[in-house]
Structures are given as structure tokens and as C-alpha cells.
């Protein structure tokens, strides 16, 4: 599946400044693996050495946080959009 991945500002130094990267995979985990294969420097920013999502990173498939729809095993469809967003203090 071909999917666009949106890269947050703080990670763009690892993608040559690109805000959007194309990747292939059937699951969120495979998309991240493909992203890391293209831009190895980004690996430590998204997943921990034991393969879990970094605690200050939220990965969304379309508008869903993947932590609640199967984590790295969440299935991906053609045309989906994956977004990586850093966890920050909410407003209010």
C-alpha cells in the first residue's frame, strides 16, 4: 500500500527537510520500517530500541491514534495518510 507520511517539524532534519514522505507497507509497523529504511536517522525518534512507540510520539492513521486501533499491527489501505505528531501539553 502506498501511503503518505506527514513528518513533524522537529523530525524534518532527518528527512532532508521534507514534510511529507511516501512509504509502502500493509501495516503501520511496515510503513515505519520503510520510512526508517529511507531515512535511518529518524529511527530513534519514533520507536524505542525494543520496538515500541516512543512515549512522546503519537502516530495517527488518518485521524486515529494507532495505539487504540492495533498499534504497529494496524492495517493500512491505499490512500491512507499517516501522521507523526509529538506529544505536547494541551491547552486550557
Amino acid at each position: 500500500m502506498a501511503v503518505d507520511i506527514r513528518i513533524p517539524t522537529i523530525m524534518r532534519p532527518h528527512t532532508g527537510g521534507q514534510s511529507k514522505v511516501a512509504a509502502n507497507g500493509a501495516t503501520v509497523g511496515e510503513l515505519i520500517a520503510d520510512l526508517v529504511a529511507q531515512f535511518p536517522g529518524i529511527a530513534g525518534q519514533i520507536v524505542t530500541p525494543d520496538g515500541a512507540l516512543h512515549k512522546f510520539v503519537n502516530v495517527y492513521l488518518n485521524d486515529d491514534d494507532v495505539r487504540y486501533i492495533g498499534k504497529l499491527d494496524a492495517p493500512v489501505k491505499d490512500g491512507d495518510v499517516m501522521s507523526i505528531l509529538p506529544a505536547v501539553a494541551g491547552g486550557a
Binding site: I10, F56, V57, D63, I69, P86, V88, A89, G90, G91
Partner: protein
């Protein structure tokens, strides 16, 4: 109606209103709890009075003492209202890029404003307040992101009110700021009926205002981690500025509810939820009314322009 002794007695007991005309599924009802009806104008009045009551019980507050807090508006306004009634001074660290109305409302209620850098967002305001609290140990810092009286206000107030008014609830959807509303209401509802689903809505942190120099500047509210937030939530959705504004406009035009923009984001998630499930009753929170956001033009200007502006303004 009997005469109310003090305006603070009007906090809570907000109305629950049917907005099912927004539901794309005839088998799914959507209800909105109008927190803008609180006297300070938002859901945050609840935690303001709860945190200050608790601090008084613990003997942390003396007459004339000074409190400090970071807020992008609503918690600050709620606390300013309570502090003015109880005789405390309040300093609010406020990001410089919140709407003019929020700033003026804070000033009207008597709070002193300390501005933090807009590009650093709520994260920056929070860190600055922590620093100021450390440098000035005589100031009382109630730290809304970690104070147990925050979720307690919702566990003992908002949650039971929803259960009383709508025991047929199947889904509760609210915004994720300090996580106090979700944790407090969500825990209460699941205690009453474990089948109730709790969905969080996160605004995309405007990339101009995410306040991050590196990922290690990230922040998860202690209330969320202290109360097993990851396990409590069933789903979490991110709703972008355009969708939030579109749904805010639908709310006012189709239901007559004049809501703030974060409530539009929550309602957009509720509409998606209704489309996804077969049948159910969704209860959402309308955090505040639209008055404090008129200067953004969100209700009437060109949607592309407003969306672009939203990248630089903190509207949650």
C-alpha cells in the same frame, strides 16, 4: 428558582442538550453538555473551584496569598473568578498568541497576566510557570496538569451529572488537554457501566506553536499517566483546524449552540463516531461558548483564511 447565595454556587449542573440533527446515523443520538453555562464561561470553572477548595482544606492558602498557574485561558478565567471571591491574588502565565478576548476576560476578573512566548505554546507557558513557582516559593502553584482535584471535580461532578441525565450513554467523547475531564468522567462512567466507550479528541498542536526544540520536550500530563489514561481510553482522534471550524459552524447554524472551536473538534469526532457505530448514545462536552473566539473570524471569514490563521493561534 431560589436566590443563589454566590455565583460560585452556579458552577456545575450544566444542561445536556440533544444535537442529534448532526448525527449521520438515525440510530445514533448525540447529546452535548453545555459547559459554557458555567459562570466563568467554561468547563474549567469546575476544576478551578475544586483545586482551590482542596488547597484551602489542606491549609495551603492564607488570605491575601498569591497563586500562579499556566493556562491558555479557561482555567485561568475560572481560577480568577474563584480567587476574586475568596480574596487571593492570581498570576496567570499565558501564551502571547491566545485570543484578545481570553486575555481581556482574565484581566476583567482581576488576574495578573505574565506572557510566555507564543511559539512555545502551552508547553512553554507550563514550563515558565513551573520555573516561576520554583523561584517564588511563597506563591502557591496548584499545577492543573497533575492536581488530583482536577479529575476529582469530574469524577464527583460532571460524570454523575451525565449518568443522572443519560444512563443510556454508550460513548463519551471529550477533548484531551490536562486529561482531567476524560479521566474523571471516563472512570466514573466505566465504574457505572464498563461497556461505556471513552474517546479522546486531540487538537493538532499547530506546528507553529508546538513549543518543541526536541522530542524530549514532549509532555504527557501526570493526571493521564497517574490514572492509567492509556488503558482508560478506547479511541483517540486528532481533528484538524478546518474540520474543527466547519463543525463549529454546523453547531451554531443547525443546533443553535454557539460553541468555541475546540468543541467543534469534539463534535466532529462525535459525528465520525456516529457514522462508525450501529446504534448508541454519544455524550460530548461543549467546553465553552464562542464569544472568546470572535476575533479569530472563525464563524464568518473565509474558511481557508481561518484555517491558516489557526496554525498560529492557540484555540484550545
Amino acid at each position: 428558582m431560589a436566590v443563589v447565595k454566590n455565583v460560585l454556587d452556579l458552577i456545575g449542573n450544566t444542561p445536556l442538550v440533544e444535537v442529534s440533527q448532526l448525527s449521520p446515523n438515525p440510530n445514533v443520538r448525540i447529546l452535548a453538555k453545555l459547559e459554557g453555562q458555567n459562570p466563568g464561561g467554561s468547563v474549567k470553572d469546575r476544576i478551578a473551584v475544586s483545586m482551590i477548595d482542596e488547597a484551602e482544606r489542606e491549609g495551603l492558602l492564607q488570605p491575601g496569598c498569591t497563586l500562579i498557574e499556566s493556562s491558555s485561558g479557561n482555567t485561568g478565567i475560572g481560577m480568577a473568578l474563584v480567587c476574586a471571591q475568596r480574596g487571593y491574588h492570581l498570576k496567570i502565565v499565558l501564551p502571547e498568541n491566545v485570543t484578545a478576548e481570553r486575555r481581556q476576560t482574565l484581566e476583567a476578573f482581576g488576574a495578573e497576566i505574565i506572557l510566555s512566548r507564543g511559539s512555545e505554546g502551552s508547553n512553554g507557558a507550563l514550563k515558565y510557570a513551573q520555573q516561576l513557582a520554583m523561584d517564588n516559593p511563597e506563591w502557591v502553584y496548584l499545577y492543573q496538569y497533575a492536581n488530583p482535584a482536577n479529575p476529582k471535580a469530574h469524577f464527583e461532578g460532571t460524570g454523575p451529572e451525565i449518568w443522572r441525565d443519560c444512563p443510556e450513554i454508550t460513548h463519551f467523547i471529550a477533548g484531551l488537554g490536562t486529561s482531567g475531564t476524560l479521566v474523571g468522567v471516563g472512570s466514573y462512567l466505566k465504574q457505572m457501566n464498563p461497556a461505556v466507550q471513552v474517546w479522546a479528541v486531540e487538537p493538532p498542536s499547530g506546528e507553529m506553536v508546538d513549543g518543541l526544540r526536541s522530542l524530549d520536550d514532549g509532555y504527557i500530563p501526570p493526571i493521564f499517566t497517574d490514572n492509567n489514561g492509556f488503558e482508560l481510553l478506547d479511541r483517540k482522534k486528532v481533528i484538524g483546524p478546518r474540520e474543527s471550524i466547519e463543525c463549529t459552524r454546523r453547531l451554531i447554524r443547525e443546533t443553535g449552540i454557539f460553541a468555541g472551536i475546540s468543541s467543534g473538534a469534539i463534535m466532529a469526532a462525535a459525528v465520525k463516531c456516529a457514522a462508525e457505530i450501529d446504534h448508541g448514545v454519544i455524550v460530548t462536552i461543549v467546553c465553552d461558548a464562542g464569544w472568546k473566539y470572535l476575533s479569530t473570524g472563525a464563524y464568518s471569514d473565509d474558511i481557508d483564511l481561518v484555517t491558516e490563521r489557526a496554525r498560529k493561534v492557540i484555540y484550545f
